[in-house]
């Protein structure tokens, strides 16, 4: 009996105009957008590769260690799954300096790649967004007349005369419609994946396929939420026209209105400006203390009275200054010397200068590490937490929940991007170790290439690997389970309404 009901449901749905239209529109949108997005990804990847090569070349062109510190840029490769859900992949910075002068973070990053940043004004589509909008609409269109229609036609009464539990009827309806709805979803995603695999620049790993599988699962759960919402409305109103109207408005509210209105309503607490200023002050003071020590050393050493450049006369350039950015709480001491020859008279100053830079090098590193301990929690407090609050509010709508889940699975959420900066920080540690190993700070190559140029060959190249699919799944787990819970809650609610309703 159950199978008969399901079969009837499927046949009813498959033969309708709405099903054909659903398949057509989904295919059209998904395929067109995937093609555009793959092109966009290829462009970004090419930009990334050029940038990596350029940074590598620029570093090797630098003949002194201190000048190389300016060029130790590491790059974040674009994520191929950003085609499914772009998340933050295109929005946040993708290159950052991993020098000894400060600990790199998201707030110090720059962007390379786009030739025309104005084009970013056009909202970027991605596959998940299409599913978000179209799937939910389709689910509601499939559901609005499921009970109301049968009630109006009188067929519901007919079905209920059979000795079969109402729970079974509900379940059969749900399974039948879901099986129909999944078809356009799977076909369009399958085509998208085939297009992805056809592109030569994208190579999907096993982990990527697992992630895509996760996204498909989340999409089905999302689809089911909207189908159940439609079913609930249908069971509760019992009139098709009312059910339809209500469904459409609920859709408009959940998909269009709620996410925008809630973000407009929540504003950041006012205290953040004071907090930023006080933290920056603290960091500034630490660096000023460093500066006093530096000056003290200069004043009390063997040649008191000279400036930071030791009045060296030679060929090349030099500069040094303390600088900071109050908004991103960054403060650092930058000193670059790039000489390739000295006058005779300066030779006796060399050991002295080397001593000075040895002291300065380790001091800059330890000061940078110390200020990071203050900076990190402050950034967390000022920027990450308010953003997380907004994100949590968004999750009250299934759309937000679905978006968060797929971002976490694709690795384009904030955590995925922050992984890159964690790796960049580890790389900075490697750089520091390398510099210590080479005794770079105390060497002549730190400031001059007249005897010997700086040696970068031993420095390992930066590479960033995304976290594995298991970690992605773990990150998505809370949101997925919430989606599933909503499903179950809605199902139970519909069951209760349906069981108690009179026919």
């Amino acid at each position: 009996m159950m199978m008969t009901l399901i079969r009837r449901e499927i046949l009813d749905n498959l033969m309708t105009f709405r099903f054909a239209a659903a398949v057509f529109i989904m295919l059209l949108l998904v395929v067109a957008n995937t093609a555009v997005l793959i092109q966009d990804y290829e462009r970004r990847l090419a930009g990334h590769n050029t940038a990596v090569k350029m940074h590598q070349r620029q570093l090797h062109e630098k003949k002194t260690y201190s000048a190389g510190m300016e060029k130790l840029l590491v790059d974040r490769p674009p994520n191929p799954l950003s085609i499914l859900n772009a998340g933050f992949d295109k929005r946040l910075g993708n290159e950052v300096l991993a020098s000894h002068g400060y600990v790199p973070s998201l707030w110090d990053a720059n962007m390379h790649g786009s030739d025309n940043p104005f084009m970013d004004m056009f909202a970027s589509m991605n596959i998940v967004f299409i599913l978000e909008v179209v799937l939910s609409l389709l689910a509601l269109i499939f559901a609005y007349d499921a009970f109301a229609g049968e009630y109006e036609n009188g067929t519901l009464r007919l079905v209920l005369t059979h000795p079969i539990g109402r729970g079974y009827i509900l379940f059969a309806k749900y399974i039948g419609a879901m099986l129909c709805l999944i078809v356009p979803l799977l076909i369009s995603l399958l085509l998208a994946v085939i297009l992805l695999m056809m592109s030569t620049s994208i190579s999907l790993s096993t982990d990527d396929f697992l992630r895509i599988g996760g996204i498909i699962f989340a999409s089905i759960a999302y689809l089911s939420v909207f189908y159940l919402i439609g079913l609930l409305i249908s069971a509760a109103t019992r009139r098709t026209s009312t059910a339809l109207m209500l469904s459409m408005f609920v859709w408009g509210f959940l998909v269009l209105v709620y996410p925008n209105v809630i973000l407009a309503m929540i504003t950041r607490p006012d205290a953040w400006q004071a907090h930023t200023a006080s933290t920056f002050n603290k960091i500034e003071q630490i660096w000023e203390e460093f500066d006093r020590e530096r000056k003290h050393l200069l004043a009390t050493d063997d040649f008191p009275g000279e400036d930071w450049g030791f009045e060296l006369r030679g060929w090349g350039s030099r500069y040094a200054y303390l600088w900071g950015n109050p908004r991103s709480l960054l403060y650092t001491y930058e000193s670059v010397m790039e000489f390739h020859g000295f006058g005779e008279k300066d030779e006796h100053k060399m050991p002295h200068a080397q001593n000075h830079f040895r002291f300065l090098g380790s001091e800059v590193i330890s000061t940078a590490d110390r200020t990071w301990l203050i900076r990190k929690p402050a950034l967390e407090n000022i920027y990450i937490q308010p953003a997380n609050v907004k994100r949590t509010w968004l999750k009250l709508s299934p759309v937000g929940l679905y978006d968060a889940t797929t971002q976490a699975l694709a690795g384009t959420d904030l955590r995925g991007i922050r992984d890159f900066f964690d790796t960049a920080r580890q790389y900075r540690q490697q750089v520091v170790d390398y510099l210590y190993d080479k005794e770079a700070f105390g060497s002549r190559q730190w400031f001059s290439s007249d005897k010997e140029a700086a040696d970068w060959s031993g420095l390992s190249q930066f590479s960033f690997q995304r976290v594995n699919a298991i970690t992605n799944a773990k990150r998505a787990l809370p949101d997925v389970s919430l989606l599933l819970t909503i499903n179950i809650a809605l199902f139970i609610l519909i069951f209760l309404i349906f069981v108690k309703s009179e026919v």
Binding site: V36, N110, D115, P117, F118, M245, L256, L263, A387
Partner: protein, 468 residues
């Protein structure tokens, strides 16, 4: 008779669920919009005023020495925020609201680079980790939400009556079909305009009551035009609804068709088509731009070195140095402008192709009338450009007024070192002009009107031929 049908339609709608839901939804959206605007607009104006004052101070400081003023330039030039920001947000966070001077080089021999405009590129906020959602502005409320509602008001207006059999009844009367159609259209238009007008009134009431936002005469004029466009846009979707409703025999099919059309044209076409057509042309890449900039720079310096190698006459050298500095600045400014213009062309082309979507057209219209968005940004750049000319003309004039000066613009020795009165220096003020905006808007308005006429006559043809 038209009014009779319209009235019937109106009464039908007034009691319906969709009317109540629309009223609630629109009121909620419009009030949110107003509240956000009166909270954010003062911050924007304050920021603008503060930075303008700062620029003026900078100008006053530099007025002590004409050469320094000419070399360092007038400081930052700021874009004035529009009081109608709530109508269209227009991707403002993307577009820079300040134009400054370029980095000034200097050599050990005392030669220093001259001020020139440096056109900013788009400035995506790289540290924006908040979720990315469109703003609740009028563009969103009208182009997205209200167009959907307009379809919901008309999808069953003919097919529904046919299903119930009332259409047959109505057509049995001696009424021409076009009267029925127009009556239905007017009825739907009036009934959707009731909640819309109410919501707009509430919105404007809240905004104009607040002391923080002042709307002047032109702003109200612009609002009037925007509202007219909004009504035209709604009518367009009502006509679309009538067209599909007349062609299709079942309301459900009519709704599904309309929703799919809506999703395609309102949500996807504006962005997807722009991304596709954007790929057709590629502007000067960033690396190419840098390369050309460096080439220009080194060529200029090579010419400079060559000249100094050959010529030893001090008066000629001074002349040449002045020319070197000013021409270098002009050349770099031209390159920067060319780079910008290539990018602008690409965006303009992409925007032009999105005009097959009425939603994109009315979004552009809203933006240009509200004084926000891309067109406004170009206007701002245009303003800074003409200001730069004005500023340079002033420098030459002021230099002429000093008898001790050699009148060689570009180097310290050749120019007046005297202070100038800070009042005499032209000040940059960003302006919005309604006539200019309206000219750019006229064609799009025409296009929107044409869409409406085509759809309405389509609905008429479909309805005339329909069998009951």
């Amino acid at each position: 008779m038209i009014w009779h049908i319209a009235k019937r339609e109106l009464y039908d709608n007034l009691h319906s669920l969709r009317f109540a839901l629309t009223t609630i939804l629109l009121l909620g959206l419009m009030l949110t919009n107003a509240v956000v605007h009166i909270k954010e607009h003062p911050i924007r104006t304050q920021k603008y005023n503060a930075s303008v004052t700062e620029s003026l101070n900078v100008l006053r400081d530099r007025a002590n020495n004409l050469y320094e003023l000419a070399r360092e330039g007038p400081g930052l030039l700021h874009k004035k925020p529009s009081a109608l920001h709530f109508c269209a947000e227009g991707g403002e966070p993307f577009l820079s609201d300040v134009v400054g001077g370029a980095f000034l080089w200097s050599t050990s021999s005392g030669l220093k680079g001259f001020w020139r405009l440096d056109y900013p590129s788009a400035t995506p906020n790289l540290t924006n980790i908040r979720p990315n959602i469109t703003k609740v502005d009028w563009v969103f409320i009208i182009c997205y939400a209200l167009s959907l509602i307009a379809l919901l008001f008309t999808f069953d207006s003919i097919s529904g009556e046919r299903e119930h059999g009332t259409l047959r009844l109505m057509l049995a009367n001696p009424i021409p079909r076009h009267t029925v159609l127009i009556g239905k259209f007017l009825g739907a238009l009036i009934s959707i305009n009731i909640p819309f007008t109410l919501a707009v009134l509430m919105n404007l009431l809240v905004i104009s009551m607040s002391t923080a936002v002042q709307l002047d005469g032109t702003a109200w004029g612009r609002l009037g035009i925007i509202l007219f466009i909004a009504v035209l846009y709604i009518s367009l979707f009502l006509a679309l609804g009538l067209l599909v409703s007349a062609r299709v025999s079942q309301s459900a099919v009519s709704l599904v068709t309309l929703l799919l059309i809506w999703v395609t044209f309102v949500i996807f076409v504006p962005s997807t088509l722009a991304s596709i057509t954007g790929g057709f042309s590629s502007p000067m890449s960033r690396d190419e731009f840098r390369k050309r900039r460096d080439e220009l720079y080194s060529e200029r310096w090579k010419r400079y070195d060559d000249y100094l190698f050959e010529v030893f006459e001090p008066s000629k050298i001074i002349q040449f140095k002045g020319k070197h500095v000013t021409e270098e600045a002009a050349e770099q400014e031209r390159l920067s402008e060319e780079h910008l213009m290539q990018q602008v062309r690409q965006v303009k082309f992409a925007r032009a192709t999105t005009q097959i979507s009425p939603a994109a057209i009315s979004q552009h219209l809203f933006e240009s009338l509200a004084g926000t968005g891309f067109e406004r940004y170009l206007q701002f750049l245009e303003n800074t450009k003409s200001y730069a000319q004005q500023f340079r003309a002033f420098i030459i004039d002021a230099d002429r007024g000093d008898p001790e000066s050699l009148h060689i613009i570009g180097i310290r020795e050749g120019m007046s070192q005297k202070p100038v009165s800070s009042e005499a220096i032209p000040k940059f003020e960003d302006t919005l002009s309604l006539s200019k905006d309206f000219n750019t808007a006229a064609i799009e308005l025409l296009l929107l009107g044409m869409f409406f006429i085509v759809l309405l006559s389509g609905a008429y043809l479909a309805f005339v031929r329909v069998e009951v």
